[in-house]
Structure formats: C-alpha cells, structure tokens
C-alpha cells in the first residue's frame, strides 16, 4: 500500500506547488508588466505587494458567485471544473527534476496533449451556457482557435518525439544531454512556441478573451470562485507550456553547478517572462488572420519538418544537417511572410502642397 501513499503525497505536493506558482505568476506578471509600462505594479499588500495575489484569491473565494438569468444551470456550473481539472491533471507527468514527478509515463507527451484538449470543452461549455452573446462568440472563437492550433502543436512535439524515440519526458530530457533540441531543430521550437502561445491565448493570440472586443469571452458572466478556477487553469497552463518548452527544447533540468530544480525553474521562468514581455508589446491578431497563420503557414511547415526529420533519422545523417535544414526551412517560411509584410510597410504620410491651396477668403 506504500506506493498509494507515495502517489498521494506526490499529488498533494504538486497541487500545493501549483497553487503557489499560480499566485506567484499572477504577482510576477503584474509586476513585470508594470515595470515595462513604467508603473510600480502592486505595492500595498506587504513589501513589493507580494501578498497581492493572496488578497485577490481570498476576495474571489469570498465573493458571491452569480449565475445569469437564463443560463443553463448544470453546464454553467460544470464549465469551470471541466476547464481546470485537465489543466491540473497534466502535471501528473511533468517532472521538475529527474525523479521529481508524480508519475513518469511511458506515453507522457501524448498524455499531456490528450488531456489538455479536454480543457477547451470546459471553456466552450462556459461560453455556451452563460446566455450571453459575447460569451457565445468567445466560445466559438475558443473552439476554432484551439482546434486549429492543436495540430501544429502536436506536430511540433512529434519532431522531438521522433528524435528522442520516446514519449516519456524523462527520457526526452536524458536524450538531450550534450546538445538541447533547440539547437538540433529550431523550427520545431518556433512552431511549438507559436502554437503554444495560441493555445494559451496570450498576446498576440488572446482572441477569445479580447477584453476590448468581446469583454472577456467565455468567462464574462463568471464571478467569484468559478471565475478564479478559469484563471487558475490559464496560469497553470501557462506554466505547463513554459515548463514543456524547457523540458523538450532546452534540456530540462540539465545544467552545470546548480541543482536540477533550479535549472528547470530558471528555464521555465525565462519562457514565462518572454510571454509576459509579448503581452506588453504585441497587439492582438484578428480571428481570420489567426486561422490563416495556422493553416497556411504553421501546418504545412510542421508537416515538412516531420518529413525532414524522418529523412534525417532514416539515413542517419549527422546532427548539424538537421540544424541547417531546420533553419533553412524556417528561413524559407519567412520569405513569403517578409514579402507580404514589406508590401505593407508604413508609407510616409504625404504633406499638402503648401503654396498651391486656394485660400477661402475670410477676414485676414
């Protein structure tokens, strides 16, 4: 029975870690965003506002949870649960260091992809059941966005899996011992990052929140603890994607001198900060542009990437050829984008011919 106890303890530890992380991430995002925008961010609760998230969480827990008139009761109540559960379940198999994991799975990567997909259903349930048109639009956008970006995300992961010949995150990290996969296949990394951002709905892909258009999307009507559950799901996912990026492409917990956990958390937080930085600088794409990006660029590119990796593996070529091929493909992919953009470079505004205007006669 001791393995059951062990499993339970590990689960509780991971849950506690996640709750703490979410609170910290929210604080961190507000602080970093504030500094980028020349503000201080939260300052009033404890030194540097470190307890701000705790205060917010307490407030949310105590707040009345409202259900709009005409909302579909059960679906409305179940939505947040369906959204947050898979987000937490994913962490069963994400290691924080060698052996520091609830359960390393043989099918780890596949498990993560499969389970996280269900989370979306929760958001769509929320959006549909709220009896609010913004929520409905948000739900439709959520569904479209998630389905579209699941494909490039999975294909980008597939590249790593093919190289590592394993779906277990532990194995994949061990495989990257001399060179991280970032060097071996930068294209997969880029695809993963873009698709990951879209799955997280962070800028520039925060289409289904879109506060300034559909005022928060599927969660418009939620309040109190149910809203907090969505929020928690989002930040857990943010951390998960960052951790995955670190594990799959940056060599995970491998690194000199420092303990494993520190290395992994450092790499993970590098991604978190990068994502926050994007939020502070990039406007939002439109839904059709988002779809075009996925289906016209990312998906074909991802398939080509898979083919190249297959060739590389089949003919057992040296590692640098894959790096080169990957970079070359990324470059080729940028050409149409670049031409597309350069045609749209901002034209200088002309100024009126200052002499030639007939003036209207008026009192001089």
């Amino acid at each position: 029975m001791s393995w059951v106890l062990d499993l339970a303890l590990r689960t509780v530890a991971v849950l506690g870690f996640l709750v703490f992380t979410v609170l910290f991430l929210i604080w961190l995002e507000r602080k970093v965003l504030g500094r980028i925008q020349m503000r201080m961010g939260p300052m009033r609760t404890a030194p540097f506002g470190v307890l701000q998230s705790v205060a917010d969480a307490l407030k949310l827990v105590l707040k009345e949870g409202l259900r709009p008139d005409g909302a579909d009761r059960w679906v409305y109540h179940l939505g947040p649960v369906v959204a947050v559960l898979p987000a937490l379940m994913v962490w069963v198999t994400i290691p924080l260091a060698g052996g520091l994991v609830v359960q390393d799975m043989r099918l780890g990567v596949f498990y993560i992809v499969a389970i996280s997909g269900v989370s979306v259903v929760g958001m769509v349930m929320a959006g549909w059941s709220s009896n609010n048109k913004y929520a409905l639009l948000g739900a439709a956008r959520t569904a479209a966005q998630m389905i579209s970006y699941e494909l490039p995300l999975v294909l980008a992961l597939l590249g790593v899996v093919m190289l590592a010949q394993s779906l277990s995150l532990g194995d994949i990290v061990e495989q990257q011992s001399p060179w991280p996969y970032l060097l071996l296949q930068p294209l997969s990394f880029a695809l993963f990052l873009i698709a990951g951002l879209a799955e997280l709905a962070r800028n520039p892909f925060d289409i289904y929140h879109a506060d300034t258009e559909i005022v928060g999307g599927p969660f418009v009507e939620y309040s109190g603890i149910r809203w907090a559950m969505f929020f928690m799901a989002e930040y857990v996912n943010l951390f998960a994607i960052s951790a995955l990026a670190a594990l799959l492409f940056l060599g995970g917990w491998k690194g000199p001198l420092l303990p494993d956990v520190v290395w992994l958390l450092t790499k993970t937080y590098a991604f978190v900060l990068f994502i926050i930085w994007l939020r502070a600088t990039l406007p939002r794409l439109r839904i059709d542009q988002l779809m075009a990006l996925a289906w016209r660029y990312l998906v074909p590119l991802a398939f080509a990437n898979i083919l190249v990796i297959a060739f590389y593996l089949y003919y057992q070529m040296p590692g640098w050829t894959l790096s080169l091929a990957s970079l070359a493909m990324a470059g080729i992919a940028l050409v149409p984008l670049y031409r597309h953009w350069s045609g749209r470079a901002p034209a200088r505004t002309r100024t009126a011919d200052r002499g030639g205007l007939p003036k209207v006669e008026s009192r001089a």
Binding site: V360, E361, R363
Partner: protein, 160 residues
C-alpha cells in the same frame, strides 16, 4: 480689410449662384464673408442638387444643417462648402411653424442624415424622403421638441 466687404472671388461666386439658381428666384446677400441665399422651402432640394452638381459651384460638402426657431417660422439653414473651389454658401429656407416640413437632402449629401434626425428631434421639422426619421438623441416617444422657444426650461421634472 473690412470684414463686411466681400472680395472679388465672393462677388464672382454670388454671380455664379444667381445664374445657376435663377429659376428659384434666390435672394442673396452677404453676411460677413458668407453668401447667404434665401429660397422658398419647396425649391431647396432641387437647388441643392444643382448647387452640388454644377461645375462652377460644386458644393459637395454639407458642413452644417441647423434650424432656428423664429416664432411663427422655423428657418432651416444649410452651410455648404466646396472642397474643389474652396468657397462657401449658406442656403436658408423658412418653414411655417404649424406645418414644418421640407424635402430631405440625404440623397444629395448622405452626411445630412443625422443632422436631419437631430433637427426633427429638437425642432419637430419633418424631412420628407428621409430614409429613417427616427429619434436620434431623444428616446422614442419623448414629449415635445426641446429646442423650440416654446419648450420650457424648467418645471418638467415630473414628465420623465
């Protein structure tokens, strides 16, 4: 320069206006630097059409449409401007206060749309042929027309 002294260009414009709108018997005068043309209400729409389409006048821009409550009459005032020649003109038409109605000019300048709706709200002037003459600033069923001189300023708290 005396502000009441029209310049050469304005004299030329006045002559051109008199010629183009001759059939409507316009009465024109200068108020400061503005050429003001008074027309009978039923002639306004046709005159506006001519003023816009004539190559010498080319009043393509309706700058402002106002109504003035003159007691027994309500005066509709069109401030026109030409982006081609950069000259300006004012058309005025006086409507009877008991039946204030005039043809809409939205088909000539789409920009007259809200001006006319606002004028109907605030002065009760009907613009015939307007595509959608519903209340713009006031709510449906608002009693009266607030900018008429007869509309009291205070004592209406209970009318909601």
């Amino acid at each position: 320069m005396d502000v009441r002294e029209p310049g050469d260009r304005q004299q030329a414009l006045a002559a051109a206006v008199d010629k183009v709108l001759a059939q409507f018997h316009p009465q024109s005068e200068f108020i400061f630097d503005e050429l003001v043309v008074s027309l009978p209400p039923q002639a306004v729409k046709a005159a506006c059409q001519l003023a816009r389409d004539d190559a010498d006048l080319a009043f393509d821009y309706l700058r402002c449409l106002s109504v003035v409550d003159l007691g027994e009459r309500r005066q509709v005032v069109y401030h026109l401007y030409s982006t081609r020649h950069r000259h300006k003109m004012v058309i005025k038409a006086a409507l009877p206060a008991d039946m204030p109605a005039i043809a809409s000019v939205t088909s000539i300048w789409p920009g007259a749309n809200w001006h006319e709706r606002e004028a109907r709200d605030l002065f009760g002037v009907t613009f015939e042929g307007h595509p959608k003459l519903t209340p713009l600033l006031l709510w449906e069923g608002f009693p009266g027309h607030p900018l008429l001189k007869s509309y009291p300023v205070s004592g209406l708290e209970d009318r909601g």
